[in-house]
Amino acid sequence: MAGSYPPVPGRAASLTMAAVRHALCGGAEVVVVSPRPSAAHLHAAITGARAAWTLHRLGRSVRADALVLCLEPGVPFQPGARRLRTQLEATLLVAALRCFRSVTLLICGELGVDATALRALWAVAQEVVVSSEQERDLVIRVLGVPSSLVVVRPVGGRERGEILVAPARGDEPCGARSVTVAGPHEWVRGERTRNLANLAEQAASRAEHDAARAARLVLGDHASTLGRPLRRALQPLRRRVERRARGEPR
């Protein structure tokens, strides 16, 4: 499970908690990762490009069959980010999600990102969970989620036992705030670039279509807008696409 988690107040945490309860009742063994220290077992960055790496890495380390990921403002996509950036992050995320046998996406609130950038996500999800009929209509109409995937699991307003917070609650981007969190040592000291490169490699082999699309984005005019570590991480992918463009064998 990945998403905001108590004691963080709000609907996203409630939705993730309900999903954990649901999975536990089904007899599953559950490991929870949240964007900030919480009642989850682990906390790590699940925002932006790092989200894909984190989920991929975690999925492998705990040998998870299934992933439940709560999409909320700031987790994993930054609201208001450029479409290109969201598209690239979504592509990397799709590659990471393909490592899991089953993927459930929880959608909580207005994500604030370009809907078309998220389309690829729906293809890897077995289930998209929302908390109300109104949200169901919205995700189908606005985000383009196939109606057959959408499941409604009601979560009300403030939950009993939830921290009483005076400001607006519910959809605030819990992960968007810059809170420095320490994870296991390997995450803190980990060679992020190398791992991202591995992920990109895997993206190429596992999801050729998505990887090629990511590569096109890298090779396009917008490449200069990407951060240096990300550019470096995507070098193997770039070389592969260039080789293919030259007609060389794989």
Partner: protein, 375 residues
């Protein structure tokens, strides 16, 4: 773990089990509330006939949590967001949270205590509709933090240990509609052996006792200062202390302060009986079990008037004397030293009060009635 709340919880669990309730104890592997190290083995065990499940603690405070802790130490309330990070400053126990999430519905009621711990503030959300909180509130900044407001407002029931604690809760904010003053039970020892205690420890002089956590917040540092003043003016008493926490005393008190550390139940009862008086300098009490133990042992109590709870007990029972400042405590210590029999008669009234109000039978009756009302 040493503490009033922990002792009441443990004895209530055993008492309810003896009345036929199926009781499970969910707790951590820690025994020290400063380090929260996992010192005990994780997993299930049987202790005093109860099934005990221990879960590991995790300690990795974030920078935000550390900063918030510094602010709270200075008496400043951090922002709500910082408070949320601070909740995990001492420890977290994800496995305990997950156990509650998966099994909370198996229980008729889940009793959380005290209010201040992560297990209560965060765990409550998993089973709020069947949660009972025994907060053991003190009048302190922690109790005023926003992250604890739901602890009193949201559970199915709240158990208070005294009327002043109950009144404090209402001053702090909303309280769940189902709440009651259950009090806390105290076991009445069959016999005491004060002479045996003196012999075992080689104590020949009269002494006053302090029992509990030797911490600034519990008034220990203040007591040592006040006792030093009493010694300077010639009060002929020593100070004996039992409990946990480091004991540092000034050189001028060498030979006048004896730290026996943590002692077993029998030794504890005997030291209470051997003392000329028991001193309770702490304002931060929700029940003050040690005051009850002193009265049961026939020992008078000198308590701070600033502590609502102990002052309430002293006024109701007539078993103790109150002091407002250092000079008044010095005066009372002189009185204990010079006319011990006069203050001893007060303790009799205290003993009757404890037996009347705080026998475990009476307390368990109130607790059972509350649990039944949730079913």
């Amino acid at each position: 773990m040493v503490g009033g709340s922990e002792a009441v919880s443990a004895e209530a669990a055993v008492g309810l089990a003896s009345r036929g309730w199926d009781v499970e104890v969910l707790t951590t592997c820690a025994v020290d509330h400063f380090t929260w190290e996992n010192e005990l083995v994780e997993g299930t065990s049987e202790e005093e006939g109860l099934l005990v499940r221990r879960f590991a603690t995790v300690r990795e405070p974030s920078r935000v949590g550390r900063r918030a802790h510094v602010l709270i130490d200075r008496g400043v309330a951090p922002t709500v967001d910082e408070q949320i990070s601070w909740l995990g400053f001492w420890f977290r126990s994800p496995d305990l949270f997950q156990y509650l999430l998966g099994h909370g519905e198996d229980f008729d009621a889940v009793v959380f205590s005290p209010y201040l711990f992560w297990t209560t503030a965060v765990g409550l959300r998993t089973v709020a509709e069947r949660a009972i909180v025994m907060p053991c509130l003190h009048d302190e900044l922690y109790a005023r933090l926003e992250v604890f407001r739901h602890v009193l407002a949201d559970p199915a029931a709240v158990w208070f240990l005294s009327e002043p604690e109950h009144a404090l809760a209402h001053r702090l904010g909303p309280v769940a509609s189902c709440h009651t003053v259950t009090g806390a039970g105290v076991h009445v020892p069959v016999s005491y052996d004060p002479e045996g205690f003196r012999r075992r420890h080689g104590i020949n002089r009269p002494f006053v006792l302090y029992a509990g956590r030797r911490e600034k917040g519990k008034g220990w540092d203040w007591l040592v200062d006040a006792f030093a003043c009493a010694v300077e003016v010639g009060v002929d008493l020593d100070l004996v202390t039992i409990g946990v926490g480091e004991v540092k005393v000034p050189e001028k008190l060498d030979g006048r302060v004896l730290d026996l550390g943590f002692v077993g139940a029998d030794e504890r009862d005997d030291v209470f009986a051997a003392a000329a008086a028991y001193v309770q300098p702490s304002r931060m009490e929700s029940f003050s079990r040690t005051v009850m133990e002193a009265w049961l042992a026939g020992t008078p109590v000198l308590a701070t008037a600033a502590g609502d709870v102990v002052a309430w007990h002293c006024r109701r029972s007539g078993g103790g004397l109150l002091f407002c400042d250092r000079d008044e405590l010095v005066h009372l210590l002189r009185r204990v030293s010079e006319s011990p029999s006069e203050v001893r008669t007060m303790a009799e009234r205290g003993r009757h009060y404890v037996i009347r109000e705080y026998s475990w039978e009476a307390v368990l009756d109130r607790m059972e009635a509350s649990v039944r009302s949730l079913r």
